[in-house]
Symmetry: C2
Subunit: 348 residues, 2 copies
């Protein structure tokens, strides 16, 4: 379970038994600092704990520095090629950089390692299914999971040789079987915290499902110390989906556990509509892990959702409100809002 | 992997190495036959292979018979208490019934087993987290996964005693850890096909994610012969989500594998908007398992999506269209529709 070693990014512990962290990456370009801050605030509210920001040129130092100052959560600068950009990011206050050591040159990497040491910063490295070279694939006999692992090892070697161990490693691809297999191997072979995710998962329900399948498999076996759900869409959806996955696994309980039946021929109400109404009525600030159920019929509903802290089931004329399987109120459809508000106003 | 034994429901093989089947349950009440047929047709188009229908009273025999005749896929009648309803369902042409043997009485169950034998029908049994009795929970020392298994065994015993083995078994709850653990045990202990699912998963992305986590964990280990994603919402969404899960695992390839990047500060285009446009342009009837990618920038996009059969990446002035990582066309934003249509018209 979890990694043996841990790292600390500006106060955020990753690995070594810390809770699985939720990450995202800014979609707003760094040029637009105000937009970035707005996005960061939304991410923080959704529970995101670490945000990666592309830092494509040194000319954006001022913007990066402002962002680090204004961000409610730690920033990891994402650098593609130049070690000077990584050192500049550390100068701007970032306590973590994501780099590919193979792109930095021996001397450049040595300079970056010194700067990271001086700043107590963490270096994230990692391979990506789309960036595997022909040589890497060939030496792995075309086994893409093995090639992902080998690519991580290529990046890890120069850091390990320098005795630098404040690293987070990752191996990601858009294929769930490749990603899970590569991470099984890495988790067995190395003590470093693992960043896990399925890259380019897509958009909407399909993208969330692909991420949930891959991350569910890994996290259910205790593999993964920090996660990113990569979705085409709003970044706060990435954080919310991450917590849905963690909640389903019982690993972290942020947010409401929403239970609702699919509605069969036995249903008394339009479950979808009632579930929507109930969701809209739930105030912010309810305790994490609270289970809320909406069930189609009063015959099976309260029993099937007996563990729910708050439950509603349809009846011939309206609804019953129940708590841990026991009816606490009944009412007609038009009194739902009022009844639920009264109930929620009392301590749950 | 897969169950040792298999069953056959009106020509549909389940277990014993057959593909993992995709199930759903009608949300339209049986009283409305035309509505049921419409729902069934939609489910069949979405790839659903078996549909459960609540059959709450014998007076609906005529409706059930019509449905069985008109349905493009096999129907399983869902019966709560009365063995006569189950026998009536077999008379109406159903080749499978879902029952709880404990509710049927010894003589009733014997009659039902005779009728099932005479009709070559399959009996599905199973436990549900919400229906566990206090006695079942107590004898499992409060371990809900163990209680789910014990409840299945209670139902299985009278069938096994009668030598009836055309059964599908299931253990479902709205908790992923409970459901996965119960199914691990059942898959090791019994040779019968397993129906798997997370009950009352909820609605929208949250419901799909909970199902994907639970079913991903089970199916990645070869556990589960037929699956249902229980969602509050349209039943065809259940089938589509099931295939998204199977596709992510590489278990079944129905549908398009859609890959799109989350869009970072490096992106050249609004990836979400372009992904939406591309999805809308894809015609029906594309080969199953085709990978379509939409990537934000031309620098990383075609390489990161090098395995895509069709890919689009944003450029400063429009897009590049690529196939297996090689550019095949470029264009301005306004020529996207035309270029993609021309490309798709040629054999992929």
């Amino acid at each position: 379970m979890s990694s043996v070693k841990s790292v600390n990014i500006g106060g955020l512990k990753i690995g070594g038994g810390a809770p699985v962290r939720v990450e995202s990456m800014l979609k707003t370009p760094l040029e637009d600092v105000a937009g970035c801050v707005l996005e960061l605030d939304g991410l923080a509210r959704a529970g995101c704990e670490l945000v990666r920001v592309a830092f494509p040129r040194e000319g954006l130092r001022g913007e990066l520095r402002q962002l680090v100052t204004k961000s409610p959560i730690p920033i990891m600068a994402d650098i593609h090629f130049n070690h000077r950009f990584a050192i500049a990011a550390l100068d701007c206050g970032c306590r973590s950089v994501r780099i590919n050591p193979g792109n930095m040159g021996t001397r450049g990497l040595a300079e970056l390692i010194s700067a990271a040491r001086a700043n107590g910063a963490v270096i994230r490295i990692g391979s990506n299914g789309g960036s595997l070279s022909a040589a890497q694939l060939e030496s792995a006999d075309g086994d893409r999971a093995a090639a992902l692992v080998a690519a991580v090892e290529e990046q890890l070697l120069p850091l390990a040789s320098a005795g630098f161990e404040d690293v987070v490693i990752s191996a990601k691809s858009s294929s769930v079987p490749q990603t899970t297999r590569a991470n099984f191997i890495l988790s067995q072979r190395y003590p470093f915290p693992l960043h896990v995710g399925i890259t380019e998962a897509g958009q909407g329900v399909g993208g969330a499902v692909k991420s949930a399948v891959g991350l569910g498999i890994l996290l259910s076996q205790g593999i993964g110390d920090t996660m990113r759900v990569s979705l085409t869409g709003a970044s706060k959806d990435e954080a919310e989906t991450a917590y849905s996955i963690l909640r389903a696994l019982g690993v972290r309980n942020k947010g409401i556990n929403f239970v609702s039946c699919p509605g069969c021929g036995r249903r008394r109400i339009d479950v979808e509509r009632m579930a929507g109404r109930v969701k809209a009525l739930l105030p912010d600030g309810l305790p994490d892990g609270l289970t809320v159920a909406v069930m189609g019929c009063e015959v099976n509903g309260p029993k099937e959702a007996a563990e729910a802290d708050i439950g509603l089931a349809g009846t011939q004329n309206g609804f019953v409100l129940f708590k841990k399987g026991k009816t606490v109120a009944t009412g007609g459809e038009d009194t739902l809002e009022e009844t639920l508000k009264t109930f929620l106003a009392a301590p749950v």
